[in-house]
C-alpha cells in the first residue's frame, strides 16, 4: 500500500476560488503542517471571498474573517483569548494577502511584531489586489501591468521588501516560501510552529487570473520565479541571521517574464532593468547571508530539543 501524502486534509472542494489558484494551494500546504487546532484569521482579500458562501465554508478549521487592516491585531486578540482561557495548544494563523500585509495591514503587523505577539502570520502574495480586480499593491513588481498601472503607466516602484521590514522588528523568524517548492514551504511552517513570538512567512502564490498565464502553469511559474532569482527562498532568524535555502544557477529572467501576460508591456530597456534589479537584490541578499548551505540543516542551538 502507498502512504497517503496528505495527513491533514482540511480543505474540502466546492470553493469559489479561480481554477488554478496558488493561494488555495498555499493554504493546503500550511494547514497540512499546522493541523486542526488552528484558528485562521483572514482579512478582506481573495481568500475570504471564496472560503464560503454563508452559511457554508470550505475549511475544516475555525476561521475568523476580519476587516482589511486588522489581521495582525485580530490575530493578537485571538491569541490573548486563547492564552487567558488556557488554550496554549491552539495555533493562531494570520492569513492575509499582499494588500492586507504590505499596505493596509502593515500598521497592525508592525504593532504585533513589536509586541512579539505569539502568532504565525502568513502572507499569500499574488502581487496585486486580485480580488477587487487586479489593482496594484506595493507588492507588485516594477514594470508590471495591473488595472491601476495600465500599459500607459506601468508600475515604476519596485516591490516592497517585507521580510526585511519584519527582520528590522527583530522577530524570531521570517522567511520566504513558494507554492513551487512545497517541501521547503512545509518545512518552514514546521520550523515556525515550534517557535514562540511573531513568525512571518511570505509565500509566493501564483495567480493565473491576474498574471495572465494558462492555468496549468501555476506551479511552474512559481518554480521559475525562484529559478530566475526573482523570488529567492531564504530565512531570517532573530532579524539578523540570513540564510538562503535555494541556490539556483543564474538563469535569465526573460524565461519567467515571457510566461506571463502581465509583463508583456515591458520594452527591451525595461526588461534589462528588470534583470538588473533582480541581480542587484540577489547580490544584496548574498552579502547579508551566511555562506549558503544545504536547505534546512539543524535548527539553531536554542531551538533544538533538550
Amino acid at each position: 500500500m502507498t502512504e497517503r501524502i496528505w495527513k491533514n486534509d482540511l480543505l474540502s472542494p466546492g470553493h469559489m476560488g479561480c481554477p488554478g489558484c496558488g493561494a488555495s494551494l498555499a493554504m493546503r500546504y500550511v494547514l497540512e503542517i499546522l493541523g486542526e487546532k488552528t484558528i485562521v484569521v483572514m482579512p478582506a482579500g481573495c481568500w475570504p471571498t471564496f472560503v464560503g458562501l454563508y452559511p457554508t465554508s470550505c475549511l475544516k478549521v475555525p476561521v475568523m474573517s476580519v476587516p482589511f487592516a486588522t489581521t495582525a491585531a485580530a490575530a493578537s486578540g485571538v491569541k490573548a483569548s486563547m492564552a487567558v482561557q488556557g488554550r496554549g495548544d491552539v495555533t493562531v494563523l494570520g492569513w492575509a494577502g499582499d494588500g492586507g500585509t504590505f499596505d493596509i495591514g502593515i500598521q497592525a503587523l508592525s504593532g504585533a511584531a513589536e509586541r512579539n505577539a505569539d502568532i504565525l502570520y502568513v502572507c499569500y502574495d499574488n502581487e496585486a489586489y486580485m480580488n477587487t480586480g487586479i489593482q496594484r499593491s506595493s507588492a507588485t513588481p516594477a514594470g508590471c501591468w495591473t488595472t491601476t498601472t495600465p500599459m500607459s503607466a506601468l508600475k515604476k516602484e519596485p516591490k516592497k521588501d517585507m521580510v526585511n521590514i519584519l527582520a528590522a522588528h527583530r522577530v524570531p523568524y521570517a522567511a520566504t516560501a513558494s507554492v513551487g517548492f512545497p517541501d521547503d514551504l512545509m518545512k518552514k511552517v514546521q520550523k515556525a510552529r515550534e517557535i514562540q513570538g511573531t513568525r512571518f512567512i511570505h509565500i509566493f502564490a501564483s495567480c493565473p487570473t491576474g498574471w495572465r498565464y494558462e492555468t496549468q502553469l501555476g506551479i511552474e511559474v512559481a518554480r521559475k520565479a525562484v529559478a530566475c532569482r526573482v523570488f529567492p527562498l531564504y530565512e531570517v532568524f532573530e532579524g539578523d541571521d540570513w540564510q538562503i535555502n535555494e541556490m539556483p544557477q543564474k538563469t535569465p529572467v526573460y524565461d519567467y517574464l515571457d510566461m506571463q501576460g502581465r509583463f508583456r508591456g515591458l520594452d527591451l530597456e525595461n526588461r534589462l532593468q528588470f534583470q538588473a534589479r533582480v541581480d542587484e537584490e540577489w547580490n544584496r541578499l548574498l552579502k547579508r547571508s551566511r555562506p549558503p548551505f544545504r536547505p534546512h540543516d539543524a535548527l539553531p542551538a536554542h531551538w533544538q530539543e533538550p
Partner: protein, 386 residues
C-alpha cells in the same frame, strides 16, 4: 466599600470586578486613566487578563472583536478621534453579535483640536448597532459597566458606556464599590452559546447573499430593540442586590410638568437645579435624562412626558446639515404619538459649560421669552459668535 475616585478610575475598577479577560486599548485624552489603571491591575496580578498595547484604536477594537468571538470577555476604552477611527470595527462588533463593553469619553472631534466635552463623537456612531448609555455620575459609571456586561452577554449586543469628557472622566466622587463575590454572583463567567472554536470549526463572517444578510439584520434589530427590556430586568436584579437603581430613563419632577428639559450625561445635574429654579419662578419644569440612547426608548419617553407641552432638548452635539441629534430623535419619537412642541438647543459643545442660568434662559426662550440663542434651521445655538 466606599472610595473616592474619578469616572475613569471607576470604569477600570468595574472592568476588574467584571473579570474581563482581554483588554486591548490605545491611549487618548481623556480616557487615559482607565488604560493606565488597567495595565497596573493586570501587571500586579489583581486582574488575570491579557493586556494588548495595540498601536491604534482600530486595532484595539479588532483585537477585542477577535477575543470576544473566540470566547473571552473583552473590554476597551476610547474617545472622539479614536472612536471615529474605530467606526468600521463598531459595525463589525455589533453585526458579529459580540458582547464587548467599551468606555467612551465624550470629546469633541477635530478639527480644530479640542479635548473637551461633546457628544457628537458617540452620537455620530448611533447607527453602528451598539447599545449606548450616558452616565450621570461616577457611581453610575461603576454600576452601568457591570450591568452592561450582563445585558451584552445575554443579548449578544455590544455596549458603549459614555462619560462626559473631563466632567465625568476627571471628577472625583464617592463611590460605593461592590465586592468581588457579590459581583461574581451577579455576573457569572462568559459562556457564549457559540464561538469561533477548534472544537467546533466554523467560519465567522463568510460572504453572504442578499437573502440571508437582510434576515440576519432583521434578527439583530429585533434583539437590539429587546435590549431595553433586558436592561430594565437586569437593572432590577442589580437593584435587588446592590440597592441602586439604573433605569433607562431618569425623570425628575416630571409629574404635572409642562416643560421638560431633555439631556444626556452630566448636564442632568444642572438640569435638575434649573428645574428647581424654574418651579420657584412658576414654570412647571421637569428634567428627563436619557440614560439609554440606543436602543432609543420611544415608548418610555412618550409615557414619561405625560402632559408636557414643551420639550426642550439640550444637544451637546450637532449633525451638521441637519440639527441636534437628540432633538431629531425626540421629534421622530413623538411623531403621531404625542402633541408636545420640541425646541432644539445646541449648547455645551467643545467644552462650553452648561450652567443653571443658561438653562433657565433656554426654557424661557422656548416658552416665548426673549431670544438668548441664535436661531438656525429650527434649532437654537447658545453662546456662539454671530
Amino acid at each position: 466599600m466606599k472610595k473616592v475616585m474619578m469616572g475613569t478610575e471607576a470604569a477600570a475598577l468595574a472592568a476588574v470586578l467584571a473579570r474581563v479577560q482581554v483588554v486591548a486599548a490605545y491611549p487618548i485624552t481623556p480616557q487615559t486613566v482607565t488604560v493606565e489603571e488597567l495595565s497596573d491591575y493586570i501587571g500586579s496580578g489583581r486582574l488575570k487578563a491579557e493586556f494588548l498595547t495595540v498601536e491604534s484604536e482600530h486595532s484595539a477594537m479588532a483585537a477585542c472583536v477577535a477575543a470576544s468571538a473566540t470566547g473571552a470577555r473583552a473590554f476597551t476604552a476610547t474617545s472622539s478621534q479614536g472612536l471615529a477611527l474605530m467606526h468600521e470595527m463598531l459595525h463589525y462588533a455589533s453585526s458579529g453579535r459580540l458582547p464587548i463593553v467599551m468606555l467612551n469619553a465624550n470629546r469633541a472631534l477635530a478639527t480644530p483640536w479640542n479635548l473637551y466635552c461633546d457628544h457628537t463623537d458617540a452620537l455620530s456612531q448611533r447607527d453602528t448597532g451598539w447599545v449606548q448609555c450616558y452616565c450621570a455620575d461616577v457611581q453610575d459609571v461603576m454600576d452601568s459597566t457591570l450591568i452592561a456586561y450582563k445585558v451584552a452577554e445575554s443579548t449578544m449586543v455590544p455596549v458603549m458606556i459614555n462619560l462626559d469628557g473631563f466632567y465625568l472622566t476627571h471628577t472625583s466622587e464617592i463611590v460605593d464599590v461592590p465586592d468581588q463575590e457579590a459581583v461574581d454572583r451577579f455576573l457569572p463567567a462568559f459562556q457564549p452559546e457559540c464561538k469561533v472554536d477548534v472544537e467546533a470549526p466554523s467560519t465567522f463572517g463568510a460572504v453572504c447573499g442578499a437573502d440571508l444578510y437582510m434576515s440576519l439584520k432583521y434578527r439583530r434589530q429585533k434583539d437590539t430593540l429587546g435590549v431595553e427590556k433586558v436592561w430594565s430586568e437586569v437593572a432590577e436584579d442589580f437593584a435587588a442586590r446592590f440597592e441602586r437603581r439604573h433605569p433607562v430613563l431618569d425623570p425628575y419632577r416630571m409629574d404635572h410638568a409642562e416643560v421638560a428639559l431633555v439631556v444626556l450625561g452630566t448636564a442632568s445635574g444642572t438640569a435638575r437645579l434649573a428645574a428647581d429654579a424654574l418651579r420657584l419662578e412658576g414654570v412647571a419644569a421637569g428634567a428627563l435624562r436619557l440614560s439609554m440612547f440606543r436602543p432609543f426608548p420611544k415608548q418610555a419617553i412618550v409615557s414619561a412626558l405625560g402632559g408636557v407641552r414643551h420639550v426642550v432638548v439640550i444637544d451637546r452635539d450637532v449633525s451638521i446639515g441637519a440639527e441636534g441629534i437628540v432633538a431629531q430623535e425626540i421629534k421622530a419619537c413623538l411623531y403621531g404619538r404625542h402633541h408636545a412642541h420640541v425646541h432644539g438647543f445646541i449648547a455645551g459643545i467643545g467644552g462650553v459649560d452648561v450652567t443653571v442660568d443658561m438653562l433657565r434662559g433656554i426654557v424661557k426662550q422656548a416658552l416665548g421669552g426673549q431670544e438668548t440663542a441664535i436661531a438656525l434651521n429650527e434649532s437654537y445655538w447658545v453662546e456662539v459668535l454671530p
